[in-house]
Structure formats: C-alpha cells, structure tokens
C-alpha cells in the first residue's frame, strides 16, 4: 500500500507542469519541450555515467537562442567533470560556433535590448543625486541590466512561481501556469533541506543554476522556464522519498492531504482550461 501511495504521489508531482504546459500551449510548444527533453536525455546519460553527456547542452542554443548562456554556465559548473583538455577545448569551440549563430536572436530577447523608459528614469535619478561620483557609482549604464537581471534571477528563485503561479492575483507578462500542485511545496522543501545527502545534488544544482542564470538574461522567461522542470521535480521526488522514510505521520500527510488536494488541483487543470 505504501509503495502504491508513494508512486501515486510521484506521478501527481511529475505530470503537473507538463500537462498544464501542453494544455496552455497547443501550438508553438516544441522548442520549450525539446529543451526540457534535452535535459532529460542528459539526466539519463549522467545516470549511465556517460563521460561526455555535457555536450548535449550545446544543442540548447540551437533549439532556441534564448538558452545561449546555458552551456557556458554549465561548462563552468562541470569544468572538472569534463575530463580531458581536448574535450574542454572542443566544447568551447562548438560553443563559440553556436554562439555566433545565436547571438543576434538572443540579443532581441535579452535584457540588453534598449529600454528608453528605464534609461530616462536612470537619467532622472542621476540628476537627483547631488554628488556626481556617487551618482555614477549607483546609477550608470549598467543599472538597467543589473536591475532586470536581479529581478529575473529572483523570479526563478521564487518558490511561489512554481507552486502558486506567482502570488495571488499577480498577473505578470506570463501565462501564470500552475506548475506543481501547491502541496508539493512540502516534499520540495524536504528535498531541498536534505539536498546535501542527495548523491545527484551536483547535477541538480548545476542544471538549476545554469537554467536560472541563463533565463535571467532574457526579458520574459515565460515558457522558456520549462527547462527548470526537471531539477525541481527531482528535488520534490527526493523529498517524497525522504518523507516516506521518516515516521508514519508524514506518510499519513501524503495519504490524507497531499494526494486528494493534488488530485483536485489536477482536475482543475482540465475542467477550467
């Protein structure tokens, strides 16, 4: 019985985002899903201990130039695990080639596109600061990018983004997708707390941080953030596993609250499309 409940919980956790994503994007879903599938393939190769599985990341900017920074950041994280010098150089050469192809489109999506309104605000702010040097230090040409990057990075780090489609009544420039049933937050937090005991923590973090940072470089993360599905799902999965290994009250929580309410949330996806 315990095993059945465990697997029901895992299924309810894992199918949520893909279903809500497909239901909301009947057309034009391909690049986002393919990007997520690349990471699934990478995960499989990683589990099979395939040496050069990181080379798969180089496909991402080809699928969509928005993911341009992903292979670069992942390279930094995996610097030691890409074993030979030749492999490292090859990776960088291919990345350089891919970047040359993707750069123009990436720029159009990126936070570096001109923003006249934000620039005007910066100019106003500079005029309000009496000390010219201080003004230059705090309000300069990079301020707009810094602020956008910070805002985007925290969007990716905001748990409410994944479990409550941001905050109640907050509608941003996105689809406000329900990515996980909100009670998945508990297993996710468990997984996060015990992440240092997770043997795959390095892979999970490198993917999560590479995704979050690369997404922070673009103006609107909507749908592109689907590449975060796998690392978050894996953390929630490890949390469910942990919950089932602890005392029976957690098992009861899963059985009595998590599964019924998650099921209700899942039905809502279909009946209130």
């Amino acid at each position: 019985m315990k095993k059945i409940i465990f697997w029901i919980s895992v299924v309810l956790t894992s199918i949520f985002w893909p279903i809500s994503f497909i239901l909301a994007n009947r057309h034009g879903w391909e690049p986002f899903v393919f990007a997520a599938l690349v990471l699934v393939a990478d995960w499989v190769l990683y589990l099979k201990k395939f040496k050069f599985h990181q080379f798969l990341y180089l496909i991402l900017p080809i699928i969509h130039p928005v993911y341009l920074f992903f292979p670069l950041i992942a390279f930094v994280f995996n610097f030691r695990s890409i074993h030979t010098l030749l492999a490292k150089v090859s990776y960088l050469v291919i990345l350089l080639f891919v970047s040359a192809l993707s750069l123009k489109i990436f720029y159009a999506y990126s936070i570096f596109t001109p923003d006249p309104l934000a620039t005007d605000t910066i100019i106003k702010k500079i005029s309000l600061i009496p000390n010219r040097n201080l003004a230059r230090l705090y309000e300069n040409k990079t301020t707009v990018f810094q602020e956008k990057f910070r805002s985007n990075a925290f969007e990716s780090l905001d748990l409410n983004n994944y479990f409550f489609s941001f905050h109640p009544r907050e509608i941003g420039g996105n689809q406000n997708l329900t990515k996980f049933s909100y009670l998945t937050l508990f297993p996710f937090l468990f997984g996060l707390f015990y992440v240092f005991k997770n043997s795959h923590r390095r892979w999970i973090f490198s993917i999560f941080i590479s995704s979050a940072i690369s997404l922070a470089f673009i103006n609107n993360q909507d749908r592109f953030d689907f590449i975060l599905y796998l690392p978050i799902m894996l953390l929630a999965y490890s949390g469910i596993k942990k919950l089932f290994s602890l005392n029976s009250s957690f098992y009861l929580f899963i059985s009595a609250i998590f599964i019924p309410l998650s099921f209700v949330e899942l039905i809502r996806l279909f009946v209130f499309k």
Binding site: S151, F154, D158, P168, Y182, F193, F272
Partner: protein
C-alpha cells in the same frame, strides 16, 4: 591593542546605534515630504485629546480611534498626546514616537539576541544582528513614519527580553506582562501574535518554571492579573463591528466581498466539486503565507504597496541573500541553540499569519515582527559563512562585510533622502501644507470648498490648519458616543468654518455660488476651467512638475 580589542564590541554597538538613530531621525519631519492620511489622523486625534480629552468625533478617551472607520489602535495616539503641548502638531512630532521607539528597538534587540544566544555566538551574533537591524530598510521605513506597528514591535521585543530575564529574576515577569499587554493593544497583528508567543514561551519553559513554583507563583499571578487588566479594554470591544470592520473587509476567508483567488464560474458538477471556496481560500492563504518567505519579495520587489518600499530598495539587501540561506540551514541543523531557535522560529512562523489573512501579498506593515527573525538568521548565516570560509583571514571577511554595509548604506541614503521625495510623493499626500499656506492670501469673505472625491482631505486640513478640535467636534456629527464602535455610518461632508469638504458637483458647485475650490490635479482639467468660466488662482506641483492641487475660483456672474 588589547584595549582596542576589549572595546571593539562596545564601539561596534555604539556605531550601530548611531547609524541606526541617524537613519531614523535625520530629516524626520521633512522626509517623506507630505503627511499620509493615517499619520494625519493619528496626529490630529492626539491633538484633539490633548486639547479637549475627546477625539475628532467627540468620544472621550476612546479604546480604539474610529478614524475613517478603520479603528486605529490606541497606543500610538496616546503616546503622541504628551508631545502635543511640547512640539505642537507637526509632521515631526507625529513621527517622533516611531523614530524614538525604532531607535530604542535597536538596543532592546541587541540585549535580547545577547540573552538568547548560546555563549559561543553571543557577542558576535548580537553585534552583527544589531548592525543589520540598524541598516534594515524595512525597519527604517516604519521608524521614519507614523505607524503603530513599529511601537508594537518595540514592546513585543521588550516583553520577550523581560521574559527571558525573568527566568532568573522572577519579578521581571511583571514588566514582561506589561510590555506584552501594551504590544497587544498597540497593533492588530500583535493582538494575534502576542498571545501565541506567550503561549509558546509558556509551554517551552513550563518545566523549569514549575520546578521553582515557590519563587514564581506570586510574580506569575500578579503578571497575569496586570496583563489581563491592561488588555481588558481592547478585549471588551473585540466583538464590536468597529473592531472587526477592518478584519472583515480584508479577510480572505470572508468571500462576501471578493471570491477567493482561483474561483471560477462553475457549471458542471465536476467543476463545482473542485471550485470549493474553502479549499481555494486555504490555497490563497497558503500562497500569501509563503510569499513572506519569497526571496523575490524580500530582496527584489519589497512591499506591494506604493508607499512601502523606498525606491530601488526591497526589505533586505541582495547581498544578504546567501547569508539568509546559510543561516536558515544551520539554524535548523544545529542542536544547541534552544532559546534562539524557539524565539526565532516562533516569530518567523507566526508573524506572517495575520498578514496572510489579508489579500495583499507581502504586506510589510502587518508582518513587521518578521524583520527580527530574518535579521537574526542573516546575522547567524554571516557567522556560519565566516566559519565555512575559514581559510580566509577574519580581517578580510569583516572588511568585505563592512564594505557591503557601507555601499548599501550609501544606496539607502540616496533612496530615502533623494529618490523617495521625488518618486513617491504622490502616495504620501504631498502638497497639503502648501494648499493651507495659500488660504490666508484668499478673500476671507468667499467660502472654500475642498473636493472630497479622493482620499480624506478633511484630516489633512485639520492637521495643517491645526483646527480647533472643540469647534470641529461641535460642527461635525457622525455618530453618538454610544454608537462609536457599532455604527459604521460615515458623514462624508465636513465643515471647518468657511471651508466645506464635500464631493465636487459640476454645475451646482461651479456656477451658482462664488467660491474657491481646492481639488487635486486629476479632478479639474484646463478644458473644464475654460468651459465653466473658472479662474485658476494657484497650483501646487510635485517636484516632477505634475500638478498635485489646483486652487480655482468660480465666477457665477460671468455665466
């Protein structure tokens, strides 16, 4: 050298207190420029009490102040009363208790953290914590403006400090009870928080206290009686519509005004079965609750209200994020932090609850007590980070943190004293002082009408005119004293001598009688002035150049 090392903690503490006090007192009456209606109401009611013993509605020494039928907690207003004869009714005097208790909070906070920390962290944790609170944009915002929440937080911390000390000196229980009782009555969130905190502390320390029952029986009994007597007035009106008015209007579980988030029109039985208000309200509450732990709100956006965050600042600085994460992790993991853990997690987990019951996400005013555990966790994270980075010298680590503090403090200075008075003035009800200053220049025989369609301008006029409370009470009846807490009817029109405050009716008000009309920049356009043959007497503008108020004169004879 030894002497310097010996006095370093004292120097750091003094520096933190100095910087903290500076940010709370500097240009207190001038920045934010403008007096928000809530501040004006607190100030004028205190002024009215000091002159007549009654509030603006003629109620003698109310338990809660009716105000705009929002019923303000009484402690702040009563703290203002003795200041009125000394400082008069000014923006400075109204914000003074907040700045004073905000600064004093730093000292109490330092002593509290020192008291509840284990020996190995005591000095460093209390010092880093007080430095972080001294430069906290969240705490500074409520210390520079007249909000009851800041005073309530001070008494909450004072109560906790006395409580932990009372475990050794039993008579301090009485002071703890008094402080908690004042905090309970000082702000709505504390009305919920204080009893739960006391309950948690009582459960946590039941065993050691019961073992020395002989020493503690009488102080605990006296404390309970005093505490109960002090909260009794507030408790006595808790069931009145007045006390509940604000709670009912904002409560997410009350679906009469607004359906819960996610509620959709359900047609089929299956839709109805998954569209239950209770389930959706629970989800909304849960979502609001977790928003108080969202790094996006804490470090990037800040409060959702337009007045609340200073421009470009959230509630904490971005560089504190890794410290907060590390602090969280180790605070949960380490086992010998009993008192610190009890206090930090109790406040951390309880203080967002009252705020989460309202519809606004991340309301920093209602969750202000949360600044305390978050600051402690961040400070603890800093210490643990220092331990993790043991290969870097202590001097380098402290130098980096000092540099970050310095850069952030300068940014905060710019935001508070240069940006806020440009970008946020519209939300701080800027311009009423200028409006009132023009009145003596106007013809005294012509009546004045102030448009009432937005906000509550009458309270700004009362505040800046320092209008005689006795005359105001005589000329403006809203409810009898007996119905003060029960009758929610409002009188929208106010009479202040030759000034009438009411909604502007085009035609009736603009063409029949010769009068001056004061209205905000949105109410009267250039085209309307021309169409209705009005004369523009003066304009009050925001620093950005936009019109805040127009002062016009009607010309019925031309018509």
């Amino acid at each position: 050298m030894n002497n310097l090392r010996k006095f370093t903690p004292l120097l750091v503490l003094l520096l933190a207190l100095f910087v903290g006090t500076f940010f709370r007192f500097y240009k207190l009456g001038a920045t934010p420029n403008g007096v928000h209606i809530d501040e004006a109401a607190l100030g004028y009611n205190a002024y009215s009490i000091s002159k007549t013993g009654k509030d603006e509605f003629g109620k003698s020494f109310p338990i809660m102040f009716r105000s705009f039928t929002t019923f303000q907690s009484p402690v702040y207003t009563y703290l203002l009363v003795p200041l009125m004869p000394i400082f008069g009714l000014t923006p400075f005097s109204v914000r003074l208790p907040s700045a004073f208790f905000g600064s004093l909070t730093l000292l109490v906070f330092y002593l509290l953290v020192k008291k509840i920390s284990p020996d190995k962290y005591r000095t460093q944790l209390s010092l880093i914590s007080v430095v972080f609170l001294a430069i906290s944009p969240w705490h500074i915002l409520y210390s520079r403006t007249a909000y009851e929440t800041n005073v309530a937080l001070f008494f909450l911390l004072l109560g906790a400090l006395f409580f932990f000390h009372s475990l050794k000196k039993s008579w301090l229980f009485i002071l703890s009870a008094i402080s908690f009782a004042i905090s309970f009555s000082a702000y709505r969130a504390e009305t919920f928080l204080v009893p739960l905190l006391v309950l948690v502390l009582a459960i946590r320390f039941l065993k050691p206290l019961s073992q020395r029952l002989g020493n503690y029986a009488i102080p605990v009994l006296i404390s309970s009686i005093i505490g109960f007597l002090l909260i009794l007035p507030t408790v006595s009106i808790m069931r009145t519509p007045g006390f509940q008015a604000r709670t009912s209007a904002l409560n997410i579980f009350s679906s009469t005004l607004q359906k819960p988030w996610g509620y959709q029109k359900a047609v089929s039985p299956i839709q109805k079965s998954v569209n239950r208000t209770v389930l959706l309200s629970f989800k909304e509450f849960f979502s609001l609750y977790t928003s108080y732990f969202s790094p996006r709100y804490i470090f990037s956006i800040g409060d959702s209200g337009p007045r609340k965050p200073f421009p470009d600042l959230a509630t904490f600085f971005v560089w504190q994020f890794p410290f907060l994460l590390v602090g969280f992790y180790f605070l949960i993991k380490e086992k010998d932090l009993t008192d610190l853990k009890t206090f930090v997690f109790t406040i951390l987990l309880l203080s967002p609850i009252p705020a989460s019951l309202t519809r606004e996400p991340y309301s920093t005013i209602r969750s202000l007590p949360m600044v305390v555990p978050l600051v402690i966790i961040t400070a603890f994270g800093t210490l643990k980070m220092f331990e993790i980075l043991s290969h870097i010298s202590s001097k380098t680590k402290y130098l980096i943190v000092c540099l970050l503090i310095l850069v952030s403090t300068a940014k905060m200075y710019i935001s508070i004293f240069h940006f806020n008075d440009y970008f946020r003035l519209v939300y701080w009800d800027y311009g009423w002082q200028r409006v009132v200053d023009t009145i003596p220049d106007l013809d005294p025989n012509i009546p004045i009408q102030v448009d009432n369609s937005r906000g509550h301008p009458y309270i700004e006029l009362l505040f800046f005119l320092q209008y005689d409370p006795a005359t105001y009470q005589r000329d403006n009846f809203e409810v009898s004293a007996a119905e003060y807490y029960t009758n929610m009817t409002r009188n929208p029109n106010k009479n202040l001598g030759r000034i009438t405050v009411k909604d502007l009716v085009w035609g009736t008000d603009t063409e029949n009688v010769e009068k001056y009309i004061f209205a905000d920049g949105l109410t009267i356009s250039e085209q309307q002035i021309a169409e209705h043959h009005l004369t523009l007497i003066d304009e009050v503008r925001y620093p950005s150049g936009e019109v805040a108020f127009k002062i016009i004169k009607t010309n019925p004879k031309i018509k």
